[in-house]
């Protein structure tokens, strides 16, 4: 306010405009300048008795005052571009999603108005501000953008908020008049669409001015922020629902995990007021096979203003997903035994092992019939392709023929299988694998050490283990329990007793675990690592359609033998590693169902035993809506990409999709590679979506304003919005010269200069 009084025009005008002089610097101006300077010289002679230190400030003040007078004579102006009157439009965008029906204040008892009521109260002031030379048009948005005649009829009923999409749509497609700005009255909720894609909105060149409505937190609210669950698990196994709960006041909450009406687990949590976001795992049994909707409910002991954000659901496919794993080992050793023992605990993994026991004898275990691995390595490409994961231990490359090496490389690159190479005396480059085709697929460069004195790459030694930063985000390093304890769980493992010096990492490789070679200390009966030089231990990469990994040790068995019997870390690590790698391999048959608005995008991938696409067959998808009444839809072949179809659906709910592939590959072996079971669930719409993350999303509003050149305004102060729009630089602009000769600041400055001079002279005794 004071700025505009002193400088005559708003701050936005000065930020955007340039100072200039309207008058000519002619005879009159030069005459005035000379006269003023002459008077200054005359007066200065009266100060001749003063020292230089006193004369200089007086002269400077006099020159400054003369300068102000000369500037006034030259007619100063501010050259600006501002909205041309009568030709521009300002869009006022009204958030009509359901979250706007929530309380506007943190404590609803203190201020009972809803966010939409606050927005409606603000609209008049916003329009008054925005109409300085422009007309306004009213829009509203929730899941879609629409024109509104007035705010009276608008109700907060939208089930979703697409704020960024609505702004982008409006900024890029409004064509009735030049759009000078968008003023959006919103709480910033964005629960549909992509909130990170602001490039298109920024490129439209229309400043967006969000008016932020809503509280930063809601008193008494307990919210289930996240509910994570794998999409597919085995029957009758224990599973953990990972919950992220946000609260503000600390209280007891009853948690229930449900499948339909059945309670699978229930637990009471005490939420600490000092930890507003809590992560908690709730174990429950998966039960028998089937497609299920698992629901988690929070029941606070005190009244919750937003009970709708206490419930989330996830779809879970409980099915036996059997992985077939082939382990080739050239040396009976403890790592082999303990991998086998661990995998034996997992009913979903069929581990077939081929072990060289002597120079001429081998030992097979886990084979499905006498023919499997009867000749050692699988005798055909199809037989190899039946495995989801191949593990190669301390086996020299010479154990395989050239054709088998070619199959192995193609197994990863073309079939999309997974491969894990372990450390050992005859593993990796020491085993001669560096000159075989498989070397290209591995995530490290195999380098053979040459020379008679070259030490072997594989040697005994003491190594600690720790996950890398990327590893900490990987499921492979998760032993369960509290996520904060993950790094500590690794630190307290028994030391490894060996390490295989692997070569340089390839550009696409990811290190999940590091071994630490360094300083150790004895704690009780254990040796633990204190510090050390990190070297890569577990490295993975995607290669072709498949995935490969190298584990540069063969002494993880110490994690089993040097810990108490109830310590499950060795078992969890190996089962997760094998499941992760085997699960990443391509299945011969795959069904994916994605929800696109009000449609289901159904896609089926179908391959034969050589993993070549199956063509020339007809496939039907059977869609079962939530209310029943299944119907069939033919799937269209997509060249090189299987079969697909977009299926419109009638309303929200859980839809089941089944695809029958019987007879599409008559020659398929019963020992076939994993098929995902062509059935899936898909949920259309999310209940109570608008009650989640329902506090003011100021961060998104700031990003929008910053990206577009606008500003975030508060509901209690929108003064200045009109000027910000007028001088915003968008719409049809005209250039104006705003006179400054009568700006109070110039006269105030002149008076101040002369007062300062007078005060100094009086102080020094010159008057």
């Amino acid at each position: 306010m004071w700025f505009e009084w002193l400088f005559k025009y708003p701050r936005h005008a000065y930020q955007q405009g340039e100072l200039a002089f309207a008058g000519e610097i002619g005879v009159l101006w030069w005459t005035a300048a000379i006269v003023l300077l002459a008077l200054s010289v005359v007066f200065s002679r009266r100060l001749a008795q003063w020292s230089v230190l006193r004369r200089v400030p007086i002269h400077l003040l006099q020159i400054a005052a003369i300068g102000v007078i000369l500037a006034l004579i030259a007619q100063p102006v501010l050259e600006v571009t501002r909205l041309a009157p009568g030709v521009n439009t300002v869009a006022v965008l009204f958030d009509s999603s359901a979250s706007m029906g929530l309380p506007a204040a943190s404590d609803s008892k203190a201020d009972g108005r809803t966010r939409q009521q606050v927005a409606k109260d603000l609209v008049t002031r916003v329009v008054d501000q925005a109409t300085g030379g422009a007309k306004t048009v009213l829009f509203h948005f929730d899941d879609r953008l629409a024109r509104a005649e007035s705010t009276e009829a608008l109700e907060p009923r939208g089930a979703r908020s697409r704020l960024v999409d609505a702004l982008t749509d409006l900024a890029t497609n409004y064509d009735e008049a030049a759009l000078a700005a968008i003023v959006v009255l919103t709480d910033g909720a964005q629960n549909a669409g992509d909130s990170t894609e602001l490039e298109a909105l920024a490129a439209a060149g229309v400043p967006v001015h969000p008016v932020a409505i809503g509280p930063a937190h809601i008193r008494g609210d307990v919210e289930l922020l996240e509910f994570a669950l794998p999409s597919r698990v085995s029957p009758d196994t224990e599973l953990s629902a990972r919950l992220v709960i946000r609260h503000h006041d600390g209280q007891e909450v009853r948690v229930r995990v449900l499948a339909g009406e059945s309670v699978l687990a229930a637990e009471t949590l005490s939420l600490d007021p000092g930890t507003p976001v809590v992560t908690k795992d709730i174990p429950f049994a998966t039960g028998p096979e089937g497609l299920k909707e698992i629901t988690v409910e929070l029941e606070p002991t005190t009244e919750d203003p937003l009970p709708g954000n206490n419930v989330r659901s996830r779809l879970l496919e409980v099915d036996r997903d059997r992985y077939r794993v082939l382990y080739l080992e050239g040396e009976p050793r403890w790592e082999f035994k303990f991998i086998r023992r661990t995998v034996a605990e997992d009913d979903d993994i069929d581990l077939v092992t081929w072990l060289r026991t002597t120079a001429r004898k081998t030992y097979r275990q886990g084979t499905a019939d006498p023919e499997e691995l009867a000749d050692g390595f699988p005798k055909s490409r199809e037989a190899l392709y039946r495995y989801d994961l191949v593990i190669i231990g301390s086996l020299p490359a010479t154990a395989l023929g050239d054709e088998q090496h070619d199959w192995l490389a193609a197994y990863v690159a073309e079939r999309g299988g997974s491969l894990l190479a372990l450390a050992g005396r005859r593993a990796l480059a020491d085993g001669g694998w560096d000159v075989k085709p498989l070397a290209d697929a591995l995530p490290v460069v195999l380098e053979r050490r040459s020379g008679p004195d070259a030490p072997p790459s594989y040697a005994a030694g003491e190594y600690g283990v720790r996950p890398t930063e990327q590893g900490l985000r990987s499921v492979l390093t998760d032993f369960g329990g509290n996520p904060e304890d993950r790094a500590r769980n690794w630190q307290t493992l028994p030391l490894l007793a060996d390490y295989h010096q692997i070569g340089a990492l390839k550009p696409g490789a990811t290190t999940i675990l590091e071994a630490l070679e360094g300083v150790y200390e004895r704690r009780g009966t254990d040796i633990v690592i204190r510090e050390g030089k990190p070297v890569p231990l577990l490295v993975t990469q995607v290669y072709g359609y498949g995935r490969s990994a190298v584990l540069a040790t063969a002494s993880t068995w110490r994690w089993r033998m040097r810990t108490p019997p109830d310590d499950q870390r060795h078992s969890v690590f190996w089962r997760q590693l094998i499941r992760h790698l085997a699960g990443a391999s391509l299945a011969r048959q795959r069904l994916s169902v994605a929800v696109e608005g009000d449609s289901l995008d159904v896609r089926v991938g179908l391959k034969n035993q050589r993993f070549e696409p199956v063509q020339g067959t007809a496939l039907m998808a059977r869609i079962t809506p939530p209310e029943g009444g299944a119907f069939e839809v033919p799937l269209s072949p997509v060249p090189g990409a299987g079969f697909a179809e977009t299926v419109p659906v009638r309303g929200p709910g859980v839809y089941r999709v089944d695809v029958d592939t019987t007879g599409t590959d008559p020659g398929a072996s019963p020992l076939t590679a994993r098929a995902d079971g062509l059935k899936a669930l898909a949920r259309v719409g999310t209940p109570n979506l608008e009650q989640f993350e329902a506090t003011l999303n100021e961060a998104l509003l700031l990003r929008i304003a910053e990206a577009t050149g606008g500003r975030v305004w508060r509901e209690d102060d929108v003064s200045g919005l009109g000027d910000a729009i007028a001088f915003g630089g968008a719409g049809v602009q005209e250039r104006q010269q705003l006179p400054l000769w009568n700006a109070p600041i110039l006269y105030v400055l002149l008076v101040l200069l002369k007062c300062a001079e007078w005060s100094l002279r009086r102080y020094w005794g010159g008057i």
Partner: protein, 275 residues
């Protein structure tokens, strides 16, 4: 190796002297090892040191110029010979230096297969019982050898009942995989000590704890875990390790006993390394 029954009962002082002599006579190379003293990338034959009850010719005996405790029977020569043959005949990379451990040692788990010999008079402490139980529950494998007759079997039975209460011993049939992992063994061999080999395979009953009962039938008896895997095997009425130790004592012994003892030993080791 086998023992001579004492003509008179033991005396405490004599026992102590004998123990001191035995200790001094034991090879210094097998002093207690710290973790990682051995190269754990190798298979390390590991002998378990335990206490036996009784006096001379029970807890200890005199043979070949020195006193021996029961646990060290055939040690370390048997393990050294066996490790050498393992390296020659199989792909197992065995350490040439055997280790010796107590069941209470914190690094017992670094040897997932342990070997106990001559257990007829063995007595385990509470700590040893707990240590062995943890070892077995973690997946470790125990091989007990060189004990004969009913009384010595009963002694082992009582000790193991305390380690794994409720477990039942099973006599393994010749079809069991342990007899076929590397060599196809059609008959469980009875390996006697060299001193008796020339008269047959069964050792004289007077050499063993009374009542001896039948000593004519060698067998492998086992404890299995809940998944049917072997946790403990006992080669009863036979002395497999003697077959390794005495391989150089003559052509007759080598051909008739050492070769069979190696076949059993290799099969057991490979079974333990694969199950």
């Amino acid at each position: 190796m086998t023992r001579m029954r004492p003509p008179i009962g033991p005396r405490f002082t004599k026992k102590m002297v004998a123990m001191l002599v035995a200790t001094l006579a034991a090879p210094a190379a097998f002093a207690q090892a710290s973790p990682f003293e051995y190269d754990l990338t190798n298979f390390i034959p590991t002998r378990i040191e335990y206490h036996s009850i009784g006096g001379q010719f029970e807890a200890y005996y005199y043979y070949d110029g020195r006193y021996w405790e029961r646990w060290e029977t055939d040690f370390p020569q048997a393990e050294q010979n066996f490790a050498k043959r393992l390296r020659e005949l199989t792909a197992v990379v065995a350490s040439r230096s055997p280790a010796r451990r107590r069941l209470t040692d914190p690094d017992l788990g670094d040897s997932p297969l342990i070997f106990m010999s001559d257990v007829g008079y063995m007595r385990l402490s509470k700590a040893e019982i707990d240590g062995l139980r943890t070892f077995l529950h973690n997946g470790g494998f125990l091989w007990v050898d060189d004990f004969w007759g009913d009384a010595e079997w009963r002694s082992l039975e009582v000790a193991m009942e305390e380690v794994l209460p409720g477990k039942r011993w099973t006599t393994l049939p010749i079809e069991h995989p342990i007899f076929h992992t590397v060599f196809d063994i059609q008959e469980m061999p009875q390996i006697p000590a060299r001193d008796f080999a020339r008269w047959g395979t069964t050792e004289p009953a007077t050499q063993h704890r009374y009542p001896t009962g039948s000593m004519t039938t060698p067998s492998i008896r086992a404890y299995k875990d809940d998944d049917g895997r072997l946790m403990v095997i006992a080669t009863h009425n036979t002395d497999i390790a003697d077959g390794w130790e005495r391989e150089s004592y003559g052509e007759f012994y080598f051909e008739n006993f050492s070769t069979k003892a190696y076949r059993v030993g290799i099969n057991v080791i490979v079974y333990a390394l694969t199950h």
